[in-house]
Symmetry: C2
Subunit: 389 residues, 2 copies
Amino acid sequence: MKEIVGQMKAELWDIFDYLHRHPEISWEEWGTTEFVRQELEREGYRLRTFADCPGVVAEIGTGPFMVGVRSDMDALWQEVNGVWQPNHACGHDAHMTIVLGVAKLLRRIGYKPPGTLRFLFQPAEEKGTGALKMMEKGAVDGMSFLYGVHLRPVQEVESGYAAPAIVHGAAQCIEGRIRGVAAHAARPHLGVNVIEVGSAIVQELSKIHVDPQVPASIKMTKFHAGEKDANTIPDYAEFALDLRAQTNEAMERLVEGLRHVVNGVAAIYGAEIELVERTRIVAAHPDSDAQQLMKEAIIAVLGAERCVPPVVTSGGEDFHFYGFQRPNLKTTMLGLGCDLRPGLHHPQMTFRRDDLLSGIEILARTVINTFATFAPQGEKERVSVAANH
Amino acid sequence: MKEIVGQMKAELWDIFDYLHRHPEISWEEWGTTEFVRQELEREGYRLRTFADCPGVVAEIGTGPFMVGVRSDMDALWQEVNGVWQPNHACGHDAHMTIVLGVAKLLRRIGYKPPGTLRFLFQPAEEKGTGALKMMEKGAVDGMSFLYGVHLRPVQEVESGYAAPAIVHGAAQCIEGRIRGVAAHAARPHLGVNVIEVGSAIVQELSKIHVDPQVPASIKMTKFHAGEKDANTIPDYAEFALDLRAQTNEAMERLVEGLRHVVNGVAAIYGAEIELVERTRIVAAHPDSDAQQLMKEAIIAVLGAERCVPPVVTSGGEDFHFYGFQRPNLKTTMLGLGCDLRPGLHHPQMTFRRDDLLSGIEILARTVINTFATFAPQGEKERVSVAANH
């Protein structure tokens, strides 16, 4: 298999170069969608695209047991060499190259899945809303296993190494508004100063306690009050909070604690405080079966000594919505070492391309292992018979 | 004297009507300056105006003992019936009418001061910077007594009543900037969150203690941080504080306390905090001689039962800079009741015009009493001799 992947190198680098030179931001990945669609059509996949959003769902094989592989597609909007532009600084161009590589490799080796093999190219991972949209489209309906992949910075996983799971944390943005009572600054007792209310919220945030074993933080990251003269007690504020937690339970605890804080502070000061929950990214909850299958594939490709433990990171990833919203769907993400420097989202991020080839082989073997281990016996026999014809 | 003032009524109402219909905001009182100059020129006053700022200084008499009467000139910038415009909602048009009335009355009765009598029409009282500018111009150099006047809202002094002093508080605006350290919100430990720094300042403000007998307050009235995404620890904030105190000592204590808070909070959080002291209005420190002279004039005009005690108000007035910066200058302000409703600075503020006539007579008598009581004996004789010729 390694040999066949090696032969695909030039084709894969062309794909990567095209994608890298044509970055598109979240929800605008239309050119990327068309490119991916054509690549998969050429390989004989059944294809689905959408009129109202970018994204590609490609399928081969039939039968109720379904395994999926997912890639994200969107670039970041960044200042690169002084110019704001879309830029693939999060490696989604590499992820697409890997997943297209898996789709091509499995065809080149003549693999016939005992069930349905589906590839998902989803938009808007950076917005945290692309996975939810794909689920609305039914992209994981009936699916049993779903695999993802993300390049890891060199500090987490070195080149030539890989992890069978990435334990992303949960992240949530909550916005808020405070309404107090305006007054002349000479008569502060007649007003309710929203800055004092905001300050009280900040103080109380540090007293929301979650299990200290679980990394978690909640903090105010925006606060705006007082548009008019400084001699007026301000009566309106807008703020935003950023919440992070390594588990969804800890995140729930933070949000619940915040609600208590807001109710209590509002009561103390006689202010109205409104919370609006914005983008939420759920924490990773990698499935043990999926991890085990991926671990075996990593060992087969890189060797046992190069399979590292799951990577724990406080960053977020919308891949985990698939497993969170569909508890029967078993998921995990390959964490691929590739000498990535200086870090994800850095405008000048670089990595070692050849490591993508290992990623392709690991995911292809994981898919094959998954069908081999978990597809119902009848399916495997049916395909085996068909293959003999 | 009352009779002569009564005869001036039509002339005074013309003056008031003109000024009320031609409001000009702070530092733009050029038309008002020209109008006042012409009115005083007609009465034979020696006049001084300025190329670089509005304002009029008018003089009569000679000799080193000098008594002054001051009026402010500027209107507020307000929304009146839905349209933003200059508007005399603080009664400065009435103050000018009164002080012009005093200047005219003293001429009509043929008063010859045993010394120098000076009238000051100063710009930009609302900005808190007009009095300072007039002092730069030497407008109170060598002056011994200076009197001012301000209409009082009906809640403080009723129509037909007056107070020999208005005990305004000190007011100060201090702006600030906080510089912290930006970080990704998933890594709050690598940043210094300026909102947490600002919240700590707000908390500590309430622990700055001044003598509880002295009304005082310090509070944050503006705070802006977090321009970018909510998933970034913000590293820059701007804020403003409003400080009020009934005495200059208490104000000094608040400012000193604030400096300690800022130094302490900066040290705790590793942030840089910069303070910029903006407009400062000093507290009234009415002179007892000046008050006594004005009190006698009020009693002579309105009767003893209509002379009320000094009005204490937390509002500010830049008149008090004259006495603050020139400790030998004795000052007080007449607090004139005139059925003023609903309040100063209200766009639809109204008052009873006839009370201005009492104000004119009170100030004229105060000036005469002051010269009579405090002018050096030789001066009084000299003028007396001249008057006989």
